[in-house]
């Protein structure tokens, strides 16, 4: 607890260096003042309305201003009142006790809805959705996590919007030129716009070609969830019509941390484990003849299990990475769950 009052304090996520009590008092004061302000404004608005000469109930001259003031003051009342109640509930309650109360409430909800009870491995993510699709060659077909669709949509939207602006700019320039009033500065600006617009078209076309050329990737596995020290069969199938310099499947462990920075929520990822499962060089994939490979996946005997917190994740996945001849690397991830060893 801080011994002296400090104006500036460090805050990171839910942690702070200052006095918790001072923080709670400040929070309660803020919401209390908001509640008071809302009450005063609302009383003033209604008293002014009641004192207006010869006024019928909520009839003109009650206009837009009246309703706007009622709306604003009501929002102040709700935010101030809610914040005050929340601050009062938080004061004198430790983080641990709040976590326990939240957990008990969640357990009660689970009991009411006849959902399966929480498993024996707290923090290990649920893997039911990973085993609901049977495979053709092996027991389970893994779902894909892909950010390629997002990249493609982003490229398409940017290309469309940017070039639409460019077209409008060109129309303005041409009209000005035709009426004998050439805009030199605007023309220079348009040249810069054209350079970026051309790049966006080229990037979009490359994405389009990639999407057209690279067909679906399928990964199947002999068992799930996985356990440290055990080994599993995996099957890889890559469709499409493309020539790859290299195609490989990797076992990857990635840490993911979500944090608040100012008003932004950011996510950082770091790869902490990477191991090749199978690989091939110079793959020629034809439309009617997908590339197929099998490998043996060995999970290290001393390793961390999968973990899923609200802000922190340890995610294991199989990553299929292809190096194209004419384009950059494409990558598709297939999540897996590593559970702790059974019976230990």
């Amino acid at each position: 607890m801080a011994r002296w009052f400090r104006v500036w304090q460090k805050k990171r996520g839910g942690r702070r260096t200052g006095s918790r009590l001072a923080g709670s008092v400040g929070e309660a004061t803020f919401f209390g003042l908001l509640l008071l302000l809302g009450a005063i404004v609302q009383v003033y608005v209604f008293v002014s309305y009641a004192q207006a000469p010869s006024v019928m109930f909520l009839e003109p001259p009650v206009g837009f201003q009246f309703w706007l003031m009622v709306l604003i003051s009501t929002s102040f009342l709700l935010i101030g009142g809610g914040g005050l109640v929340f601050a009062a509930l938080q004061t004198g309650t430790s983080t641990e006790r709040r976590a326990v109360l939240t957990k008990r409430a969640a357990d009660l909800e689970l009991g009411n809805e006849d959902l399966p009870p929480p498993d024996d491995n707290p923090g290990v993510p649920d893997h039911a959705h990973l085993t609901d699709s049977p495979g053709v060659k092996l027991r389970y077909r893994l779902p894909v996590i892909s950010n390629q669709v997002f990249t493609f949509l982003a490229a398409a939207t940017f290309c469309l919007v940017y070039n639409a602006i460019l077209v409008v700019l060109l129309v303005v320039l041409i009209r000005a030129w035709l009426v004998g009033n050439p805009q030199i500065l605007l023309a220079a600006l348009a040249l810069c716009f054209m350079a970026i617009g051309s790049w966006s078209i080229a990037f979009f076309l490359k994405q389009l070609r990639m999407r057209g050329g690279i067909g679906p990737t399928t990964v199947e596995i002999s068992d799930h969830p996985l356990h440290p020290g055990d080994s599993y069969d995996v099957y890889l199938s890559q469709s499409g019509r493309l020539h790859l310099q290299r195609l490989e499947m990797l076992l990857v462990c990635e840490e993911e941390a979500t944090f608040r920075q100012g008003t932004d929520v950011r996510t950082d990822r770091r790869v902490v484990f990477q191991q090749s499962v199978c690989a091939c060089g110079d793959c020629q994939i034809l439309r009617d003849q997908p590339y197929e490979d099998r490998g043996r996946l060995q999970i290290p005997s001393r390793t961390m299990h999968s973990f899923q917190g609200q802000h922190n994740v340890i995610q294991w996945k199989l990553v299929v990475r292809g190096q194209g001849v004419t384009w950059r690397t494409f990558e598709r991830g297939f999540p897996i769950v590593i559970s702790p060893p059974v019976g230990k």
Partner: protein, 135 residues
């Protein structure tokens, strides 16, 4: 005025535990008036450290309030034991770390509070380092 003293001892074991092992703990509060000590909370818990916002999970929790007890004295030695869960294991990664600890928090008069925690390790997950991408 002296700060209150909180002492925690994990009995019979070192500070490395296996999943499913029993953890025995005793704790005591000193240097505080009986009437000034309003409540004591003891938790066996995990929390995350690192770049992300903090996540925490409570495995064991007990709260004792002076008003609920006939003697009203929360200072004497108190013991509890709990069987540790299988997960999450203690972990030291690059941007995510998972720590286990026994935490005792005391609530004093005039809204003051203080806590002490004793860390321990659950399991033997290896330390991880960032993998450099060859590309």
């Amino acid at each position: 005025m002296l700060d209150p003293l909180i002492s925690i001892r994990l009995t019979d074991q070192g500070r490395r535990f296996l999943p499913g092992q029993e953890l025995q703990c005793e704790y005591q509060v000193d240097a505080v008036e009986k009437t000034d000590l309003r409540a004591v909370e003891a938790s066996v818990m995990w929390y995350t450290e690192g770049k992300g916002d903090e996540d925490l999970g409570i495995h064991y929790f007990e709260r004792r309030v002076a008003a609920d007890r006939a003697a009203g004295d929360l200072r004497p030695l108190r013991q509890f034991c709990t069987t540790l869960p299988r997960t999450p294991l203690s972990y030291s990664g690059v941007i995510v770390k998972i720590r286990w600890c026994v935490r005792v928090r005391i609530f004093l008069g005039r809204g003051r509070e203080s806590f002490l925690e004793v860390p321990f390790q659950l399991g033997d997950a290896p330390h991880m380092r960032e993998v450099e991408d060859p590309e």
